[in-house]
Symmetry: C2
Subunit: 415 residues, 2 copies
């Protein structure tokens, strides 16, 4: 395995004690995969020289490329350089060029340079330094028994920019001499469960094309990985399977190019020159925020209303007090007025409105937590539908927002 | 180390190929830490019997408790039960009770039961089954050479509910007989960098109290971990250090009870019976969504405006067209009108408004991407301040929203 394997070792008590969630491993895995390789192993150990050294030893037995993140900072719990010094049996030496650079950064930021920071200019003798243009801690590279070790800071912004310049550069050199080519595609599905999809499409897997399933929040991500002697052949094989799957689950697939559901909706709105207005009660701004996460959202979205109180529903949207009194804010009657009136106010092509009970309090027997009404208005149509999404508050907000996005997506399919 | 160590093994190609980001490790680490223990190791391997078995072997040499997640589903790439069967040298046996239960779940959900699903009722002979009330794949427990192994599905909702009922139950029994007691506290800081904080407070660390620093988005989380012979003693020691730190960086600490910044703001608003209204342009609903993530937000937030287009700023908020033409939407003049008018419309105690350039397009020489104006109105005051938050679109939205929250928090300190 060693000839091919890539491994990442994440370090830090803050990861093991749950203070922070690591994102470097996920990012690396995604990038490496898109380059036609795969991360094979990941380990996480704490701020202990002994544990870091053990992890380096294990990685040395099985991986060609080993990336270590974290523990290069100035504080006492930053022990990775000491562990590297021990593992490679190389003394830590001060690099005066690096120290000068750190001093300059401090001067530029008008911050005081202290002895604490000198530590960041120490490297195991003979290391190749990796520049850090985003922060003060440079990384370094060393080799041992056929493995190449890269040491990076844990701060994601710094880690990423340095990996691109060092490890990815090496990996691309490898790619040129690799013999087996892979092509991968992800189909994103909304509205069907994993086993429903697996039941319908697992049969299309072949010896050269792997079909993987992954529930992700309320979506299902289906990964097709084809391998062949040439990239053209792998692509061709992949495309054949994709077409079969598309025939089987058609419009449940919202994306075949890694786009998120909000991105698909924004792109489709912009392409078709339609404007959407969004009126939120229980989702409290999340739906608007998901839309505005996408660059270019301002070309299809101008009006968002977060009418979280009944007073706001009355005064901003003109919902009748009598409706609020008789049916409550969580009712098809109220959502109907919300969606009709907000469309008028915003002169939008499509208007969507949502009102429900996110919990944990506020549920009743007839309208338990998780009850939600989603209304849409477009062309001369107004539709309101009731859903039931039990679960935690944040998952309720997410599932409701995704459902709204999928409703808009499906309306746009026929425009 | 083995007597104490806890280890989690996450499995799945979707993790190693970056399709999914694991969240089970982070959740487990956080929970275990809050119970006074710590996760010591984590490994991630792919869907390969060989790699899963190697990971089990390594864990068996060093950890007392080993939790394995993923690979218990019905599809071909679910190999964990096979790996367990090989590792423990125990045959897989069909458990008819479990199979019946799965069939019932399928009947209730009106879904067809297929032979694929029978796989989920197979367990290594002699395993103790862990019920799964959230899904169809039960887990199981087995022991080997002083280590106890727990096998769980990877779906976070299922994993969490099952861990609480099985592993945490065992861990709590351990706690009662443990001799060394630890007490930990997290101080969350906004508005100072890691090195600024470290420079001021690292000197307060003692032999019995560890001070750990972790930048988290634009916050800094400072963890104080004290250990002593009794919990009372550990708490006392912890409190002493906390008071010193509070004296040093005072109001930069927004939370000392793990509350998030939005939670602190919502609790403070509710306690002081104040209402806030939120008017967003560039943050596009994120600030409202962060507030409404917190249960009880409806007691302090009724009016949110996502006036993403100039037309919405004019028609909903009554911003003068002449101001938009002369100064643009990203200007202190525009934000001033936004915040004054939205406060009037909503009759709120505090009103906050924000307009800026999230990018990646839309920047100019005088107003580059990252430029943002934040306005607040409360009592008889109106203040607008310009900030510059360069970076990606989503980080810009987040940093701007956090800054708004911190502004509200600081206003409330003196109310």
């Amino acid at each position: 395995m060693k000839n091919q394997s890539i491994e990442i070792i994440t370090t830090g008590e803050e990861l093991l004690s749950g203070i922070t969630q690591d994102s470097n491993f996920h990012w690396l895995a995604k990038q490496v995969f898109s380059m036609g390789f795969k991360v094979n192993y990941q380990q996480c150990v704490g701020d202990s020289v002994e544990d870091i050294v053990s992890a380096l030893n294990l990685a040395n037995t099985r991986s060609k490329y080993v990336l270590v993140t974290g523990g290069l900072g100035p504080t006492d719990d930053d022990l990775t350089r000491d562990a590297a010094s021990f593992f490679f049996d190389l003394k830590l030496i001060l690099n005066p060029n690096v120290e000068n650079r750190i001093k300059q950064v401090f001067a530029r930021r008008k911050r005081k340079y202290s002895n604490l920071n000198q530590k960041q200019a120490l490297f195991p003798k003979g290391s190749k330094v990796i520049k850090n243009s985003e922060g003060t801690a440079p990384g370094f590279v060393l080799k041992s028994n056929g493995s190449k070790f890269y040491f990076y800071p844990g701060v994601p912004r710094e880690f990423k920019s340095m990996v691109i310049k060092s490890f990815f550069f090496d990996l691309n050199l490898d790619k040129e001499i690799s013999s087996k080519k892979t092509f991968s595609k992800m189909l994103k599905v909304f509205g069907l469960s994993e086993s429903e999809v697996a039941h319908k499409i697992q049969k299309y897997a072949t010896k050269s094309t792997y079909i993987g399933f992954r529930p992700y929040n309320y979506e299902l991500h289906v990964r097709l990985i084809s391998s062949a002697k040439s990239l053209t052949q792998a692509k061709k094989e992949n495309n054949k399977i994709e077409q079969k799957i598309k025939k089987s689950i058609g419009n449940y697939i919202y994306s075949s190019n890694e786009d998120s559901l909000p991105a698909v909706v924004v792109k489709s709105l912009v392409k078709k020159k339609k404007f959407v207005s969004i009126t939120e009660s229980c989702t409290g701004g999340l739906l608007s925020s998901m839309i505005t996460d996408i660059p270019g959202a301002s070309k299809c979205f101008h009006y968002g209303f977060v009418t979280y109180g009944n007073n706001a529903k009355e005064s901003i949207l003109g919902v009748d007090k009598s409706i609020l009194l008789k049916y409550g804010a969580v009712s098809s009657q109220c959502v109907k007025q919300m969606v009709i009136n907000s469309r008028k106010i915003s002169s939008s092509d499509i208007s969507i409105a949502v009102s429900g009970i996110a919990g944990p309090l506020g549920g009743t027997n007839s309208k338990p937590v998780g009850t939600v009404f989603i209304g849409v208005s477009y062309d001369d149509k107004v539709r309101v539908k009731k859903f039931f999404f039990p679960g935690s508050r944040d998952m309720f907000k997410l599932r409701t927002s995704l459902s709204c996005l999928d409703i808009i997506r499906r309306i746009l399919l026929f425009k």
